[in-house]
């Protein structure tokens, strides 16, 4: 039985085991490889996507749980917060190996989407579920602050 959902704004159908984690449906069947496998137990955050705007660990979310819902992956991240986060990530050269960064960015974008001026404690709470073995954490924190600053700076008139 196929499962219908929206992925990055497009209607998609998945004809897979309903118990298959969303992560593997995205990667192996929708062929979107930006979302990463890190642990399979919601312990590392590498697989973070947005489901109806909420940051979600796709490695423990069965496909059946997202039927009819809207899934956004790193490839489809287009919110103002998401764009600001990506720009800050590039400007500060946050990534090293880069493997966890899709998940980091999805978590950071969700944080800024709901809390445009997070404190360091807010960042700790929102980001400590995302592991980076390259320990790019100092720059992740700095990039979130920089993205928040960019989002909160009024745009010049006419732009």
């Amino acid at each position: 039985m196929s499962i219908k959902l929206t992925v990055n704004g497009e209607a998609r159908e998945l004809d897979v085991d309903p118990e298959m984690p969303l992560l593997w449906a995205i990667r192996d069947h929708l062929e979107l490889s930006g979302t990463k496998f890190g642990c399979g137990m919601a312990l590392c955050g590498a697989c973070t996507v947005h489901v109806d705007g909420q940051p979600t660990r796709s490695c423990v979310t069965p496909v059946s749980a997202v039927a009819g819902k809207s899934v956004t992956t790193i490839e489809g991240l287009a919110t103002a917060a998401g764009k600001a986060v990506q720009q800050a990530w590039i400007a500060l050269d946050v990534p090293q190996c880069g493997y966890c960064q899709s998940g980091q960015i999805m978590s950071a974008a969700a944080l800024l989407g709901s809390n445009p001026q997070p404190s360091d404690a807010d960042i700790d709470a929102a980001m400590s579920g995302n592991i980076c073995r390259c320990a790019t954490y100092v720059r992740i924190r700095a990039a979130i602050h920089q993205a928040a600053g960019a989002l909160n700076t009024p745009k010049p008139a006419g732009s």
Binding site: V16, D17, G34, P95
Partner: protein, 733 residues
């Protein structure tokens, strides 16, 4: 591995890897490319200039061919920076791609040039002269092409920011416009290299990484992301204890799982192949295997450590270093300290679990992986498939971290994926994925270690040092075994006190236990434990002598001026001369260590609250010669501090009756954002020396710097990792 100790490799290994008539030193020309007339009309304005390490395309991009794996350490930025400097390119036109597996052309010059591998923090160091030559050669050929085209003297042609120009006539051309003609120019035999004082790109404070955009948009492709038409996915059931073997298996239930296409035995276990990872995993869960554990390691780590302690008291040991008479000097010491140190097994836990893809046909074996040992993996695949070495094609992709894990002398997971492709007859391309559980329980750990140290100072201030180390050899039984001299594995004890300080009396010995748990290089290798016991004992000696820890160390670094300079810089920037605030639970500590030719000193400031150690600030000074890309150097120090801190605060793999106790990140805990020091300051010691590596050397000092800070704050001596304040409090009481 350690470039200090690179020697010859085993003979059969050389036979596999040596190509006839190499003559490579700083080779810059591909056969048939770049020689005058070779294009014969085919070339022209719209042709590229292709050389082994540089390709200049008509679209004006300059692509550097990276012989090294990018695993986060920044070589895809550092190597292009070296070329761009000598080429006088603009940074915006630089691109990078991985080299094919090919020796001697892409051999690592720090390893004799016959093996293509990334490791030992050698990528920039061994490429330095080679890529400067490559960049300067390409520049000379562009200049010659412009001079020829414009009919002007080459000496009047300048190159600035990717633009070739002739001032007197006002003519200008891009690299892309000249590439085809440049390819027809004779290759200069000798080119002048820049004086470092005129470097514009090398040493630029903020040179954007070439991979940041792809890695911030999900576009970067790793081995685990490779998709080929008809590709299947495999997981492997491996023995539950190290050294176990397949006795028999029943595939019926696994094959009944929807999506499972094959179940095959390979030398390392039983592979279950499915149309996606989900089906392969489900199939493996249903698979029934009977294991032959007659040769398996069945001891636990508590038992092993007990045996290591006994071995440390025994007579069986090899002398690694001897200076003066340590026993006599210890006997007349006026101040003495002693310590027993215990270090656990550690998993690398790269964020991208091990993965590789293999497409096998009758005359070709093509591999996609985050390949760290191209030459070995190529030879292994050739041996498994019966193909010739040159029929094995390796596509090296960005790796999602390695820290040493992908540098496996027996090719490990590459051998597995090729074995699966062979066992399934090459009917489809196969992708092998290790789950996180496979990774954490899979061995190849930083070796378990026990150190026993006695040290003292005599009335004249001379230090006597006696140390026994007990830990498995990493090199024994591998193609790198010939790096061992007289049975000594430098990867077990390098970076000990007699190497790093001016000691009058020292005796360093090593006992190699026989253990069936596979071990491997882990970011900074032996220095992860040798720096720890050395720097903690030096601190305790300083305290025993009633001296300041920095001043005390400097007194024994007269013959180590780079150590002294880095230590002084870190201390100065940390404000060491100002008194540290006397607040409860707060303290600061220092450590300095050289590894891989780079010296790193760190001052750590901590707050101890109950059983929790928080590292508030780290000030780091690094002498890595010329800093090619300073921001990458800073990034690597930050990274190495986080990696080392993860091990110091949390990391341990334990075994019970031969079974690994941890399986995923809930049990094998690693550092998270909330525990990262809020402030890490990195200061680079100015230097005109050729560059040395930065991927690993930031790791060794952080654990002892933190331990010394905790002792300053609380008086508690931390001699076992990971830190256990409650246990150490009990031991100190």
């Amino acid at each position: 591995m350690n470039p200090r100790n690179i020697g010859l490799t085993r003979r059969q290994f050389l036979e596999l890897t040596t190509l006839a008539g190499s003559g490579l030193t700083l080779g810059v020309v591909l056969p048939g490319c770049g020689s005058a007339g070779s294009g014969a009309g085919a070339a022209g304005p719209a042709a590229p200039l292709e050389m082994p390490f540089v390709r200049i395309a008509p679209d004006n991009t300059v692509t550097v061919i990276s012989k090294h794996l990018e695993a986060g350490q920044g070589v895809w930025t550092g190597l292009p920076a070296i070329v761009a400097e000598e080429l006088d390119a603009s940074w915006e036109q630089m691109r990078v791609e991985s080299a094919p597996a090919k020796v001697p052309m892409y051999g690592n010059l720090a390893m004799g040039g016959k093996i293509q591998l990334t490791g030992g923090s050698t990528a920039i160091a061994n490429s330095w002269e080679q890529l400067r030559q490559a960049g300067a050669t390409a520049r000379a050929m562009l200049v010659a092409a412009a001079a020829h085209r414009w009919g002007v003297p080459a000496a009047e042609v300048t190159v600035t920011e990717g633009v070739v120009a002739h001032g007197p006539s006002g003519r200008k051309a891009s690299f892309g416009e000249l590439a085809g003609d440049a390819a027809k120019q004779p290759v200069p035999e000798k080119v002048a290299l820049k004086d470092p004082s005129s470097f514009k790109i090398i040493g630029r404070e903020k040179l954007p990484r070439l991979d940041s955009r792809a890695k911030s948009t999900g576009a970067q492709q790793y081995a685990i992301d490779v998709r080929l038409p008809g590709m299947m996915t495999a997981v492997v059931a491996r023995p539950p204890r190290f050294g176990g073997k397949v006795q028999s298996f029943d595939a019926a239930k696994a094959k009944a799982v929807a999506g499972v296409v094959d179940v095959v035995e390979i030398p390392r276990g039983v592979a279950v192949v499915g149309r996606d990872l989900w089906s392969a995993k489900q199939g493996r869960a249903a698979l029934v295997v009977t294991w032959d554990e007659s040769g398996a390691e069945k001891r636990g780590t508590a038992q092993l450590m007990k045996e290591f302690r006994e071995l440390a008291r025994g007579k069986v040991a090899l002398t690694a270093a001897e200076v003066g008479d340590a026993d006599a000097a210890l006997a007349r010491s006026v101040k003495r300290v002693a310590g027993e140190f215990e270090f656990p097994y550690l998993a690398h836990a790269t964020m991208e679990p091990l993965a590789a893809v293999c497409a096998l046909s009758a005359d070709k074996c093509e591999i996609w992986s985050g390949c760290q040992f191209q030459t070995l993996d190529q030879a292994t695949a050739a041996a498994i498939t019966g193909l010739k070495t040159e029929q094995v094609v390796i596509n090296t992709l960005a790796a999602g971290g390695t820290f040493g894990r992908r540098a496996t002398p027996d090719s490990d997971y590459t051998a597995e994926v090729v074995s699966i492709a062979k066992a399934t007859g090459g009917r489809y391309p196969v992708r092998l994925i290790w789950t996180r559980e496979d990774d954490i329980t899979g061995g190849r750990y930083r070796p378990l270690n026990y150190h026993r140290v006695e040290a003292g100072i005599d009335k004249d201030g001379k230090i006597a040092w006696r140390q026994r180390l007990v830990g498995q050899s990493i090199l024994a039984g591998t193609p790198f075994e010939s790096m061992m001299k007289d049975g000594l594995d430098p990867n077990a004890f390098g970076g000990h006190a007699a190497e790093e300080y001016d000691l009058d009396h020292a005796h360093i010995s090593w006992t190699q236990p026989k253990v069936g748990v596979p071990v491997l290089w882990w970011r900074s290798v032996e220095n992860t434990h040798t720096a720890y016991s050395k720097e903690v004992i030096m601190d305790e000696l300083a305290q025993a002598a009633g001296q300041d820890p920095v001043a005390f160390r400097l007194a024994y670094l007269g013959k180590h001026p780079r150590h002294a300079a880095a230590l002084k810089l870190a201390a100065e920037k940390a404000g060491w001369n100002q008194p540290f605030p006397k607040e409860k639970g707060r303290g600061r500590g220092v450590a300095v260590h050289e590894s891989f030719g780079t010296v790193v000193a760190q001052v750590a400031e901590v707050t101890v609250s109950g059983a929790k150690i928080s590292v508030d600030r780290v000030v780091c000074a690094v002498d890595c010669g010329i800093a090619v890309t300073p921001d990458v150097v800073r990034a690597q120090m930050q990274s190495a501090i986080g990696y080392g801190l993860s091990a110091a605060l949390l990391g341990k793999i334990t075994l019970t009756d031969g079974h690994v106790d941890q399986s995923n990140f809930h049990q094998y805990q690693v550092l998270r954002l909330e525990d990262m020091p809020r402030t890490i300051e990195v200061h680079i010691v100015p230097s005109t020396n050729a560059p040395s590596g930065v991927g690993e050397p930031g790791t060794p000092p952080i654990a002892p710097a933190v331990a010394n800070a905790v002792r300053a704050a609380t008086g508690i001596r931390l001699h076992s990792l990971p830190f256990d304040l409650a246990a150490a409090r009990g031991a100190s009481a």
